[in-house]
């Protein structure tokens, strides 16, 4: 089965992104596909490149990157939500932004596109 996930909670304000990650890992382990994880609202903060959690905290960021690498999970940050929150930096060039590798910035259209392609759609709130 194909899943599309949306995360709209920030990384250190709630457990939502952790739950989404736990779900994605379990789904992939069962042979399902996670087509896309769309980071909307405060969820865009999950993609900040320069997050430096203490070494004894499991870094969710590298977890997402590994899912993208190994399973082709498409990690998309909503451009409108990111821009509103300053996540993209001041320029119009995404290359100058604070977004971590493995994520891409795109519009809400990609979320609708994922909803159309997926068998199940899940939202993980903050």
């Amino acid at each position: 089965m194909k899943f599309a996930l949306m995360i709209n909670g920030g990384p250190y304000t709630s457990q939502g992104a952790n739950s989404a990650y736990g779900f994605a890992v379990a789904a992939l382990a069962q042979g399902h596909e996670v087509l896309r994880v769309f980071f909307y609202g405060d969820g865009v903060y999950n993609a900040m490149r320069d997050m430096r959690p203490p070494a004894d905290e499991p870094p969710l960021l590298t977890g997402w990157q590994a899912l993208a690498d190994r399973h082709g999970v498409d990690l998309v940050i909503c451009s409108a939500a990111a821009e509103r929150r300053g996540v993209l930096g001041i320029g119009e060039d995404v290359g100058d932004s604070g977004i971590a590798e493995g994520f891409r910035v795109a519009g809400l259209g990609l979320w609708v596109d994922a909803c159309l392609a997926a068998d199940r759609v899940l939202v993980f709130h903050g």
Binding site: A26, Q30, F124
Partner: protein, 95 residues
């Protein structure tokens, strides 16, 4: 046709659980995750038209065990979470 309702807030922190339970249909299910797993640990009234599940890893992380007084609640791990999503046609998360 059935809906899986996911709740993540404790009954004390948010009305989400109460709001959700009022809109559950007879073939629907409710999955309690994150702080919502405190609900079956207490004597909170967990009655609705459908079945109720709680996510074990979130319970374990909070030092919670199955509450014999909430006999109708079933328990799943993340693999069971995935299975619930597969077995319902759609999912709604209550913020």
């Amino acid at each position: 046709m059935a809906v899986l309702h996911i709740v993540k807030h404790s009954p004390d922190a948010s009305q989400a659980l109460r709001r959700c339970l009022a809109r559950v249909g007879p073939s629907d299910s409710v999955l309690l995750i994150e702080d919502a797993v405190y609900a079956p640990a207490s004597d909170a009234a967990l009655r609705c038209a459908g079945k109720i599940y709680a996510l074990l890893p979130d319970m374990a992380a909070r030092g919670l065990t199955r509450n014999p007084l909430q006999g109708d609640v079933e328990y799943v791990d993340y693999a069971g979470f995935v299975q619930l999503v597969v077995n319902h046609d759609k999912v709604i998360s209550w913020n």
